[in-house]
Symmetry: C2
DNA sequence: CTCCATTATACTCATCAAGAGCATAATGGA
DNA sequence: TCCATTATGCTCTTGATGAGTATAATGGAG
């Protein structure tokens, strides 16, 4: 218990370890139509957040309270994302430490349209280079690629140049490498390092190349959003979380479009159906879809039983390049 | 920016959101021989930890400082695990909130043997039911299974009984279900809920069945260790992290034994080698192993280049039942 | 010196998941 | 009636994976 004593020792007296402010911050995701969206509040591009308070029973309940208060939107599925302490805050007195505990939340919107308090915004407003559903966006090859390569070339020594070149190629799938939709955070951080996003230019107005297209966000919120997108893109492959974003009944095509919206790439229709059905993730409702053009489709619902039946099985999405 | 203002508002004045104490806590893992170990400090079973202080540049550097101070052991690879706020602290004044940010660290021991300050302890001292390298331990079928089933039966209503029964079967691989070595945390939490571990009996000495074998730890440290083990068991399958635990040069069998120690189960030797080699994770050093009985083995080293070459490729371990 | 236990290493085989494409079935509208 | 559009069923190929067989080196027991 000697260590325990050491830990406790600093607790009673207001020592140098005391002065920590804890923020809870949420990436609230939904898919509206074919667009994956994040919930923002206020005028600026800001994620819902607020301080962790004594009244909160737990971190999660504190987060739910803040999001509901700020947006009126109740949350369903929640998972912790990451805890940051090294935020790029300007003007903080050195005495004040800030810790941000971020969460990913999944819901359906539909409750109400955008209002003064909240606003759904497409992920791809913030990360236009992440949407590959119509193939690699010209933006990537024409703007980002050259700009990043220029940054790589500007490095002092050879090994750094090579290292940067490789990171760029891996992250963006240049040089015949495959596009990996999960590397959202790595891509954002590369652009940040290269000074190609607005966030990395704040406070130091340098005369560099113009920032790449894509809305900036307040503070480090865009980085947190990137973390959330990356987590979700990864998780849909091994856990049945997509269904948190679906209406109670849906067609397989709607499900597919949702997955595609999240992953930012297309999947092979027949293989997708095969996968979903063979894993017994869904069951027919018996109804048919209200017509959407073409042959009517069966409606399905999520088999909630799978959550109990098995752990760690999911929706490996069969990816395609077309 | 309205929300931003709201967040900032509580910062300057010492409002009710201020009083938060942040602890950093580490699961330091190494594999000594064929045993996966965690680093503990002091007399009791305690993970290295200490408060996040102003002097710390970042959460990670704060953690490194604490571990090094408490154990003399410098850390290499680190990743964040989880942030807890609802710790089962007894005697905390309600005014004092504690947040624990936990990390997983990978090293090799060898620097020095156990000393007064630190001690390596096998994971399976704490979780004897997790080691399936010699098949399902009798402990599981003879003790844990019956005790958990009894707990399930003690539930009030039918649906709760059924739900508990299913959770038990899934977590421990009963009823012909496969053993899933990643469900370390779920298994611990089941035992906790069922009152079968010492930690869940603290403060409420009930007259129930005896706790299951396995050392307890201080506070909720055993839960944090379980989280770390689960993370590592999952991660070795898709990222080349095992090599953080290996000496610079090793034989393929040593690598295999390390993976087996972590996973708590055996792998098919030939398939393991095939996988490692076809993924080009290692390269020959040219040397042969100092004899270990039998035909001498080639020594290999990790190809550090893979870390840059590709993201998200790893060591899918081919599992076997033998 | 031989036999054997032990470990290393090379192949083979069957099964199955996944990428890809073809074909047919319903529907509404031009 | 033809066609665009979506739904749905099936086949084919490839590659990954679980599992087993066979052979190569080594040291130690006898």
């Amino acid at each position: 218990m000697q260590q325990q004593a050491a830990t406790k020792k600093n607790a009673p007296d207001a020592g140098k370890a005391q002065d920590v402010h804890v923020d809870l911050i949420a990436v609230v995701a939904a898919v509206n139509g074919c667009e994956p969206c994040a919930l923002t509040i206020g005028e600026a591009d800001t994620l819902p957040s607020g301080p962790f308070e004594l009244g909160h029973r737990s971190l999660q309940s504190g987060l739910r309270a803040w999001v509901e208060r700020q947006t009126g939107h109740p949350l369903g599925y929640i998972e912790q994302l990451y805890t940051f302490a090294d935020r790029d805050r300007v003007g903080d007195e050195p005495q004040q430490r800030v810790i941000s505990i971020s969460y990913l939340a999944l819901t359906r919107d539909e409750r109400a349209p955008d209002g003064p308090a909240r606003r759904w915004r497409s992920w791809y407003d913030y990360f236009p280079w992440e949407d590959h559903r119509a193939g690699m966006p010209p933006l990537v090859t024409e703007l980002i690629g050259p700009a990043l390569r220029q940054w790589a070339q500007s490095a002092g020594d050879d090994s750094l140049r090579a290292e940067r070149g490789q990171r760029i190629a891996v992250a963006f799938g240049f040089d015949d490498r495959p596009w990996n939709e999960e590397l959202v955070l790595q891509r954002y951080e590369l652009l940040y390092e290269a000074g190609l996003v607005a966030e990395s230019r704040r406070g130091r107005p340098e005369a560099g190349v113009a920032p790449v297209p894509g809305r900036a966000m307040v503070l480090d919120h865009r980085r947190i959003l990137a973390t959330g997108i990356a987590r979700l893109r990864s998780k849909i492959k091994y856990r049945p979380v997509v269904f948190e974003l679906m209406a109670p009944a849906f067609t397989l095509l709607q499900l597919q479009r949702t997955v595609e919206a999240l992953a930012g790439r297309l999947v092979h229709k027949q293989n997708f159906r095969r996968l979903i059905e063979q894993q017994e993730l869904v069951e027919e409702t018996g109804e048919m879809a209200a017509d959407t053009g073409g042959r009517p489709a069966k409606l399905f619902r999520f088999r909630h039983a799978v959550l109990a039946e098995r752990q760690a099985i999911g929706t490996k999405l069969p990816l395609t390049r077309s």
